[in-house]
């Protein structure tokens, strides 16, 4: 098996995952954070950028931490298994954090800290 090809495929797939999915979450999640603080849109956009930064750091850690193990792979099926194992842990952690973030945003939006209206029925 070819070590260069596994490096390229692994880094390419991880880059697509991190950059594309990160941009989509950043773009489509802006509405939610602006909804939490509609009086201060600039802070909302900064918060959104901070979340994107945290996402990038987490994914970089996942990708680069096990990069060394590619050297010890010897056959194509071990290469595919390595890529699948690392990508799967990364993707599942990102998905769980995404659903947790949705939950936090929902709980924050009905809490009294962010809710300026008196009655909740709206």
């Amino acid at each position: 098996m070819n070590i260069i090809i596994t490096y390229i495929v692994y880094l390419l797939l991880s880059a697509i995952l991190v950059l594309l999915v990160g941009y989509w979450f950043y773009h489509f999640g802006e509405v939610y954070i602006v909804m939490l603080m509609p009086h201060d849109v600039q802070t909302a956009k900064l918060l959104n950028g901070l979340l994107l930064l945290g996402y990038y750091l987490l994914n970089l850690g996942f990708i680069l931490f096990f990069l060394r193990q590619i050297n010890s792979l010897q056959h194509w099926n071990e290469a595919i298994l390595f890529i699948a194992k690392n990508l799967s842990t990364n993707i599942i952690v990102v998905a769980l954090m995404h659903y947790l973030n949705m939950l936090w945003l929902y709980l924050l939006s009905i809490s009294s800290f962010f809710n300026h209206n008196k009655n909740q029925i709206s």
Partner: protein, 161 residues
Amino acid sequence: MSYKTDSMQLVRDSIQHAEQAARILEIEISDAFVVKAYLIYLPIAILLTALVSHKLFKSGKVFMLDIFNQREDIAYSTNKLFELGFYLINLGFALKILYINNIDNAKEMIEALANKIGFFAIYLGVMLFANLFLFFRGKKVASQKRRDKALYEKVVPQTNI
């Protein structure tokens, strides 16, 4: 007597070498079949999850518009966010169950593939119904809130706070 034990030893050694060669050949054949099975399973899993996600969240837009009172930007954003989460969790699961232990011939490869793809399809069905259940529950909560609001505005006249 030593020539007889020497020749017996030679025969035993040659049998051992032949067994080792056969084991390595078996591992190579098995690896080849396993790699083929991986390369057949992965595109099918990705295609299935793309299809299910596209269909589900095409009709999810209608639910979202209903839940968020026809506010288009937040409805489409929520729909897209749920779609991304759906893609992520299904792709992660598809990659996690990828491992196949041993395939000796084509028959076992077809059986292993059928096992994996079937299990993943069942899992996709369960996730689809879970998402549909969440959509319907959100719709029920939204219509309940609307009914409460209508009743409230009937009892209490509209005032500026």
